[in-house]
Symmetry: C2
Subunit: 381 residues, 2 copies
């Protein structure tokens, strides 16, 4: 039996008829983010390579490339496939990997796109070098250096030298520069403290670059940075390329940090949700919970009424498919009038929220203008 | 270009070659859970209607029906579609809904399966009654009563009487009993306190049942309960049907509560992950983070080595695609030897974790025995 749920929205629909929960993109804000960020980064003579792990959509990647991006980043090899299939020609996997299935993916991808990957240990280099040789492909390799994240990456210059020498020993591998990402710096709320942390990360990256130069090895690319720090990274003189991902759509966490520089991406991402129960004074229940909103960065901090008026709301609890909303400030009165009304919820953390949805419903004003598949959703290998 | 990632596993593969991260089911534990729970519930003369929101897989629903379940529960209408398409004939949607797209789904589903749904407000009844009449279908309706969850559901007998009368006024609707679920009771760690809370919920449900009986209305079904309380619910004399979902696969949260009764489902769900970086003493980094593990119930509490030996590990931080693991107790020594080794991570909360994956890799002993699609993944409307 072919029995599938109807589409939640079609191009041209009024926003008021979109089925819920749905993941929305406000195209005006989204396009401004793409344009302003590209211009800002280009103005510093640095390359923009947006991180596709945030949006997981080849439709967005194509718009980023049209806006001047040199390529994209992915966090996993399987994630790179839909982008490669959609015609993205330059993909950097900002992560280490181990295992035969991963090597198969790397060599397959490298036969279709210019692929670069990260390493931080000799066994990864050896396995990749053998796989590249036997597949007859060339893979750019960027050792990851630790610039403060305390997660992956080599921590010493000697460790880096070993990797660079090992890469040089494999004809299928090409040393292409350094991966230097400090995730912990991205969400520091205080702008000056964030700048300081970013600058220290760049300085640390600089010491690795100069240590290699002293040995006659040039780093063509030094890549890293994210939405919270790219405004500093582009001015560092160290990074040749920045990797912001969230900037296109943003989220509650990034919206909650201070922005005092020349660039400030706007939130363009929302989950549209319907009040499906309202039996208690001062409380309503909406139809999006843990299966439509990631809560690793806390509960959503912003909920606004969509197409109607009502008291301010706070999202106070997320169950699997329920969100409990409480009226703020107002006396806790009857809420039955709000049954069927709709709200816009700003996700706390965009990346894992996007990964829960199959498509973006893109709107301008009050109308659905496009539906973009989230074609890399769930691709975590 | 057709370019898609290779399958992470095929039937017959050794577990040691399964691509990571992958969601695994240990079939021996899973089958014991299905068998033991069905026998326990049947022994009390109560119907078992497993909640499919936990596993989201028609392959599992079919096995639950073969083991004696009378039907299944879904939490959303769209979620019910793959089960209906796979031949499940009796589906109870344990939730309220509002909106034209929802009414279309309800009437379409009701033309294929015996559908029951919940209401807790008169406008829902009116809209559903009109939709059912115009579609020429019959929908069973179970008003939800609040038995302690403080979320949805009517809170007074008068509120229930109004709904029952309104349902009776619509020829396309049939009053079929009561939905009485107390989610907050499910994870109470202390067994006696959980039993006490469950019994009070059943008592409260009983007062609604008797109030209806006093008006000549019989409740053919009183349905509710979950994995944490069904052992009490079946003995309550009030519930005619229980709705456990997690019992088939379990998770860290349910594994962490006390079980002193005659039934104790075993954990059968794991995420298999590879150590892809190990550059720091006392720490390794695995390839599953927020996009393969839900952390709403906290970080995973159990990580064990798969196919190799090593020091005890604690999962200390989840990034999008990284899990930081620390060695426990042992001195913080070099960990490079563990690069490429694999671990089994027990998810903290099964429902939203399952919703991140597209398939279960089901194993027995050391071999992959089946691949089951998670065909309701992402269906949250």
């Amino acid at each position: 039996m072919t029995l599938t749920p109807p589409a939640p929205a079609l191009v041209g629909d009024p926003l008021a008829s979109v089925g819920t929960p749905s993941l929305l993109i406000d195209l005006d804000a989204f396009e401004a983010n793409l344009r302003d960020t590209a211009a800002f980064v280009a103005g510093h003579g640095v390359a923009l390579r947006p991180h596709a792990k945030a949006h997981k959509s080849s439709a967005i990647a194509q718009r980023q490339l049209e806006a001047g991006a040199v390529g994209i980043c992915c966090q996993k090899l399987s994630e790179a496939y839909p982008f490669a299939a959609a015609g993205v020609r330059d993909i950097h996997v900002t992560n280490e990997f181990v295992g035969r299935d991963k090597l198969l993916m790397a060599t397959e991808l490298a036969s279709h796109v210019r692929l670069s990957v990260c390493v931080d240990a000799l066994p990864q280099v050896r396995a990749l070098g053998e796989a590249a040789a036997s597949a007859g492909v060339t893979i750019d390799v960027l050792p990851e250096i630790d610039v403060g994240q305390n997660r992956c990456g080599v921590t010493t210059h000697d460790g880096l030298f070993e990797l660079v020498e090992a890469i040089a020993a494999h004809p299928g591998l090409r040393f292409a520069g350094l991966q230097a990402y400090h995730g912990g710096a991205q969400h520091i709320a205080d702008w000056a403290a964030r700048k300081d942390t970013a600058n220290r990360a760049a300085e640390r990256a600089g010491t690795f670059v100069r240590a290699l130069e002293a040995r006659g090895v040039r780093c063509a690319r030094v890549t890293g940075g994210g939405t919270g720090t790219f405004e500093f990274d582009v001015a560092s003189g160290v990074y040749t390329e920045v990797q912001p991902g969230s900037y296109a759509i943003m989220d509650g966490e990034y919206g909650g940090i201070a922005w005092h520089g020349a660039v400030r991406p706007r939130n363009s991402l929302f989950v549209l949700s319907t009040i499906m129960s309202a039996t208690r004074p001062g409380m309503v229940v909406c139809d999006v919970g843990l299966k439509g909103l990631a809560v690793d960065a806390g509960l959503p901090r912003e909920v606004t009424w969509a197409g109607s008026e009502g008291p301010p709301l706070a999202y106070i609890a997320a169950n699997d498919e329920h969100g409990k909303l409480e009226t703020v400030g107002a006396p806790k009165t009857d809420t039955t009038q709000f049954l069927g009304q709709r709200v816009l919820v700003t996700p706390g953390h965009c990346d894992p929220t996007v990964n829960l949805h199959d498509q973006y419903v893109c709107f301008r004003g009050e109308r659905v203008e496009a539906i973009w598949p989230i074609d890399a959703r769930g691709l975590s290998r």
